[in-house]
Amino acid sequence: MGLGVPIIVPVSKPSKGAAGKTGLWRVERPVVNEDKCIKCWLCWLYCPEDVISEGDNGFPKIDYTFCKGCGVCADVCPTKAIQMVREEE
């Protein structure tokens, strides 16, 4: 019998960015218009990547390193405060 078999298991510890820098997937970025935002936090609740948090000014803040640009936040926002803006080259 040769060397031991490296059993490579498909398991991962939950950690920030466990699936890589998903921000690189983005075609459009969500931009919050604070004038329209009513701080209902639906965007925070629905974001599948958990990248929305409360910023210093009390409004939603998006972590663009991991925001994948899915647009769910823009879709659920009741006041249309989030706009999807095409990424520049």
Binding site: V5, V9, P10, P14, A18
Partner: protein, 409 residues
């Protein structure tokens, strides 16, 4: 010789259920299907009567049965289930998840033909079509071998170099519903041979959360498949070691990855699996009475495939007759295909006559095996072995059409 157990006259399904009990499995997700049903019924009665301590989960389908077995095994306990035919096919997707997650789940597969049309009788296509799921697959030919092999395969599957799930495949009705004397080993002896399962590679634990089956992209995926393949190859040696250890403890030996009968001095070797191998033993004796030096190589382990055994035993023989109970459409019998790949790059590789027969439970007796052996040997001796495989025991009106194919070659 090993310690005494007790003798009982029981069916193959009963033997499988007793094996699960002796292995002290902790979770049994169950969904019934003919001819597997009595396995999960026996287990239910063992649990109900307090003879077995396990969680019995009645699920809504075989897909769920395997999903639940995965959950149990991932939580770190020994899991067992059983199925057949369409049930196994419905599980197919989750079979890959079990193997890829490296969970040594045990399963009895009662081999049954695949529909349509509905047919409840023996045929190996159900399990053999699941060849590439990453499950170890062992085919057996007696009720004693059913019981003993389930115990042995837990030991192989749970080895830290293997960590893959396994199927023990028993022929529908021919074993599942046929009574034979079986020696039931004592619980304490089995516990010594097969200790509790305690995984060290990974397990689900609420205090240390992890996810499994997450994303792995091109820079990681290939090594995971390689690791499964290497484990599968290493399992071959372990099957030999564990069979030997079992023999030392219990005094019974069914072979390792293969079992050999009168091959030493053989000119020709018959290769087959499952209960056809028991018939083939009788056929070998008949042929020897007629003066032909023929032996039998029974394939027990189909995954991992014992390529080395094949090469060692078959190289330099005058010919090989491989009998399959499954059809890989347009390509032949699954055993025939594998054995060709064992021998192709070797010098002195013998001609191989591959027969496909016994589908949907069509009876294959020792007389049929004698007939196939003679047909194969005749073709080899007279240089008429032209086709990769032959059908055997078709109805005469269809046999004629099949024979006309030979002229077209």
């Amino acid at each position: 010789m090993g310690p005494e157990g007790t003798w009982e006259i029981i069916t193959g399904n009963h033997a499988a259920a007793i094996a699960a009990k002796l292995a002290r499995v902790k979770v049994v997700p169950a969904y019934p299907i003919t001819p597997q049903t009595t396995i999960v019924e026996y287990i239910a009665s063992f649990i109900d009567s307090g003879q077995m301590e396990a969680e019995y989960i009645r699920v809504e389908s075989e897909h769920s049965a395997m999903a639940a077995a995965i959950g149990a095994s991932a939580a770190g306990v020994r899991a067992f289930t059983a199925t057949a035919s369409q049930g196994l096919l419905l599980m197919s997707e989750v079979l890959h998840w079990a193997a890829g997650s490296r969970l040594p789940i045990g399963m009895a597969v009662v081999n049954r033909a695949v529909g349509p049309p509905w047919n409840i009788h023996v045929d190996h296509q159900d399990a053999m079509s699941q060849r590439d799921t990453g499950w170890l697959q062992v085919y057996v030919s007696s009720n004693q071998e059913v019981l003993d092999t389930i115990l042995m395969m837990y030991k192989v599957a749970e080895n830290p170099d293997v960590l893959l799930p396994f199927m023990v495949c028993l022929d529908g009705f021919v074993l599942s519903h046929t009574y034979m004397p079986v020696n039931i080993p004592r619980q304490e002896d089995v516990a010594e041979f097969l200790p509790e399962y305690s995984p060290s590679h990974w397990k689900l634990d609420p205090n240390d959360p992890i996810t499994f089956g997450n994303l792995a992209l091109p820079d990681e995926y290939q090594e995971m498949r390689w690791s499964m393949d290497l484990s599968m190859r290493r399992a071959l040696d372990l099957i030999e070691d564990v069979s030997e250890e079992f023999f030392q403890k219990f005094g019974r030996y069914h072979g390792g990855a293969t079992w050999k009968y009168k091959v030493e001095d053989s000119d020709y070797v018959i290769v087959t699996a499952g209960t056809m191998a028991s018939e083939a033993e009788v056929a070998v004796d008949e042929l020897r009475d007629e003066g032909m030096r023929v032996g039998l190589l029974k394939v027990r382990s189909f995954r991992p495939f014992p390529h080395r055994d094949m090469a060692e035993v078959l190289q330099d023989r005058r010919g090989v007759v491989v009998i399959d109970r499954s059809i890989a459409f347009s390509s032949g019998g699954p055993l025939g295909i594998e054995i060709r790949s064992s021998l192709y790059n070797r010098s002195g590789s013998p001609p191989i006559a591959n027969y496909v027969t016994g589908l949907g439970g069509r009876d294959v007796t020792y007389r049929d095996i004698v007939a196939m052996a003679k047909d194969g040997i005749g073709r080899i001796m007279s240089d008429r072995l032209r086709r990769p495989y032959y059908w055997f025991k078709l109805k005469p009106e269809y046999e004629r059409i099949e024979l006309s194919e030979e002229v077209r070659m």
